[in-house]
């Protein structure tokens, strides 16, 4: 894709989340949303996706996560070389995939601490119990890093959380579950200026050669904090352009029309 040799590509396969010619439609009405999308997120890299409202960014993340609303009609999703198509969403998660949702769900009656605990418990072999003391120590230290009040452990998952609190809670879950690939869908929306800095700090602390990230955003501002290696532009279900982080600046200035025009031309 970027002029990599075949050999490098082969190695990459086992070190990446690879989307190949992905076509996906809405199961209930057959509308095609993703129309042949290609993308490789390598471990150690941060990719950003920008694109107009309704272009398919959230659909892409949900299709990767295995959301039942969508059907894949063509293409592949490979997690370290293994296709995840047909896998239940929980299996994909345990295989190392994480989605920070644009609109995190509220789960009344299930405390945040129990929710995260169940997620970690699900990663243990049958019959093994999560050690409670270690768990809470870990949880509290991650919460401290994100400057989250301890009261959020006992509250029901996202219930009554402010927009920004929900986004912070998504990143808390990411840090606790320690995934290999993270897809952050508009994690910056709803965050105030201080919160953006804190949450971005949390994400950056998790950057490593072992982790690939895909950051979906509308705003250049986030990319000042989480500096991407590559910026992609998604329009109408396809990646239509790649570039460095300057591309984000250019989009901020010029909007999407010039890309639409160039693509149409």
């Amino acid at each position: 894709m970027f002029g990599q040799s075949r050999e490098v590509q082969q190695t990459l396969k086992f070190m990446s989340l690879e989307i190949r010619n992905l076509h996906a439609r809405i199961a209930s009405n057959g509308t095609e949303i993703l129309k042949g999308l290609d993308l490789i997120v390598e471990k150690g890299k941060v990719h950003a996706i920008m694109g107009p409202n309704g272009s398919g960014k959230s659909t892409l993340s949900k299709v990767i996560g295995g959301h039942p609303d969508y059907e894949i009609t063509e293409g592949e999703i490979l997690l370290d070389g293994t296709s995840v198509i047909g896998m239940e969403p929980d299996v994909r998660s345990r295989a190392g995939l994480f989605l920070a949702m644009q609109y995190p769900m509220e789960i009344p009656g299930v405390s945040n601490a129990n929710f995260i605990r169940a997620a970690l418990q699900a990663r243990l072999p049958e019959g093994e119990e999560l050690e409670a003391t270690d768990y809470y120590a870990n949880l509290y230290s991650k919460m401290d890093g994100l400057e989250m009040d301890r009261k959020f452990t006992a509250r029901s998952v996202n219930e009554g959380f402010s927009g920004g609190e929900k986004k912070r809670n998504e990143i808390l879950q990411m840090l606790m579950l320690a995934p290999k690939y993270c897809i952050l869908d508009e994690t910056d929306s709803g965050l105030d200026i201080d919160a953006l800095r804190i949450v971005a700090g949390g994400v950056n602390s998790y950057r490593s050669p072992k982790v690939g990230m895909l950051v979906i955003t509308h705003y250049q501002r986030l990319l000042d904090y989480i500096v991407p290696d590559i910026v992609h532009v998604l329009v109408n279900g396809r990646i239509v352009r790649h570039g460095g982080k300057e591309l984000a600046l250019e989009l901020e200035e010029r909007g999407y029309d010039f890309i639409r025009e160039e693509t149409a031309a």
């Binding site: 929980d90 949702m101 769900m105 009344p108 699900a122």
Partner: protein
């Protein structure tokens, strides 16, 4: 909570035909029993067309195969006493098997306080006949089970009478275990709580079988309060999946008194709960709570009545049902506000979480208001598991089955937040956890 039943049970005559169980009751009580028996035999079996049996399958109500229960063997007794483990801290515990007292333990002195009576019902009837007669099943059965209430009165021997005199507060809960043992055996457990002025007490009843044998239960739990009394009553129902059970409650709430009842229905093949709260004095409050975890082919049939006789009283009902597999729940409830019961606050809320396409929840809340200036709300809602929520769980690696358990637990355990005693609420959470896995 079941163990192998090692007792041999001779075939019994049907409880339908044997007549009253006089046990060791005194003559005066036998007369009450005889009258009840005559009432039982004269009343017809319920029909589906009876308003109070709406939605219910009355054809399968035949109780003729159930006979009187015999005393259980010493070995079984010992085992059942050992299995009767409830809260860590209680004021006392009684254990019954087949309506016979197995053990009674006082923990601390609160049940020895001056004037407190905490007795097996049989003993109370023998030693305090007038006091018992004053409170024993004095309210008419209002919502359908007149026939079964009469059967209960004619057969009753097991159970507990608790009389808390004026101003006495029993700090820790009082527990009773009722075990049913033997093939097609019947049980008639009775709980009678009388709380005098400003008395305070918490009572827990546990119901379970000694084995998986089919059984029949026809129980009554009545609560009577005087002004300012505070009573909490919790029934933990863990009958086996072959048991047909009726549990009937009558609560009377005096001026400024408050009564909270909670039924936790975990077991049973078919369980019918009837609960009637009568708000008799201004400032009274009745909280009627029920938590039902239905699965397999379980049927939970709930009938309630909130009767506001006095002004300025509150009743607040919350029933929650989670239904899995082919289970069914039925709720019909009525808030009745009598003429003159002004400034009544009466609420009735039923929530169903339907987890399977084959499960069925019927709810029919109702209002009958003859007073002015009242605040009454009622409503029933049914919902399925939200697939977006399930995806959220799964996206964190939590399998659907676990997600369902967590949501169900959260949905049902919310009711326990209405219980002020934290240790009791935690205990109920544990019991619910035990069923949901």
């Amino acid at each position: 909570m079941t163990v192998l039943d090692t007792t041999e049970h001779p075939a019994n005559e049907s409880v339908n035909t044997t007549g009253p169980d006089f046990a060791n009751h005194p003559e005066s009580f036998r007369a009450t029993q005889q009258a009840a028996w005559e009432k039982f035999t004269s009343l017809p079996m319920p029909k589906r067309t009876d308003e109070a049996w709406r939605f219910a399958d009355t054809r399968t109500l035949d109780i003729s195969r159930f006979g009187r229960a015999e005393a259980v063997s010493d070995a079984t007794q010992a085992m059942l006493v050992k299995l009767s483990i409830g809260l860590e801290h209680t004021s006392g515990q009684m254990t019954f098997a087949n309506d016979r007292l197995l053990s009674r333990h006082f923990h601390g002195d609160s049940l020895n306080a001056k004037g407190v009576l905490w007795l097996p019902l049989e003993q109370a009837i023998a030693e305090h006949p007038e006091l018992v007669a004053k409170y024993f099943m004095r309210e008419e059965a209002r919502i359908g089970s007149g026939k079964f209430a009469a059967l209960h009165a004619s057969q009753v021997r097991g159970g507990m009478f608790l009389y808390v005199p004026r101003g006495v507060e029993i700090a820790l809960p009082v527990e009773t275990y009722h075990w049913l043992s033997g093939e097609n055996a019947s049980l008639f457990p009775h709980t009678l709580i009388v709380a005098e002025e400003n008395a305070k007490v918490t009572v827990l009843d546990y119901f379970a079988n000694a084995s998986e044998c089919p059984g029949f239960v026809c129980g009554v739990n009545d609560i009577s309060t005087a002004a300012g009394a505070k009573v909490t009553y919790v029934a933990v129902q863990e009958w086996n999946r072959n048991t047909l059970a009726f549990h009937m409650n009558n609560t009377t709430v005096a001026r400024d008194a408050s009564v909270l009842t909670l039924r936790l229905n975990l077991g049973g093949a078919r369980v019918r709960d009837e609960a009637v709260s009568r708000l008799r004095g201004p400032g009274g409050r009745s909280d009627m709570l029920s938590v039902n975890a239905a699965e397999g082919a379980q049927i939970f049939d709930q009938r309630t009545l909130q009767i506001h006789e006095a002004p300025n009283a509150t009743s607040d009902l919350l029933y929650k049902n989670a239904l899995n597999d082919t289970s069914r729940t039925i709720f019909t409830g009525l808030i009745r506000v009598d003429k003159g019961a002004h400034k009544t606050d009466a609420y009735q809320k039923v929530r169903n979480l339907v987890l399977s396409d084959e499960a069925e929840a019927n709810s029919a809340p109702g209002l009958e208001i003859e007073a002015d200036d009242v605040r009454c709300t009622h409503g029933a809602t049914s919902g399925a598991l939200d697939e977006e929520q399930v995806f959220y769980f799964q996206s964190r690696g939590i399998p659907r089955r676990v997600a369902q358990q967590l949501v169900t637990f959260g949905f049902l355990s919310e009711v326990f937040e209405r219980i002020p005693d934290a240790a009791l609420a935690a205990h109920l959470c544990d019991l619910l956890h035990g069923k949901l896995g």
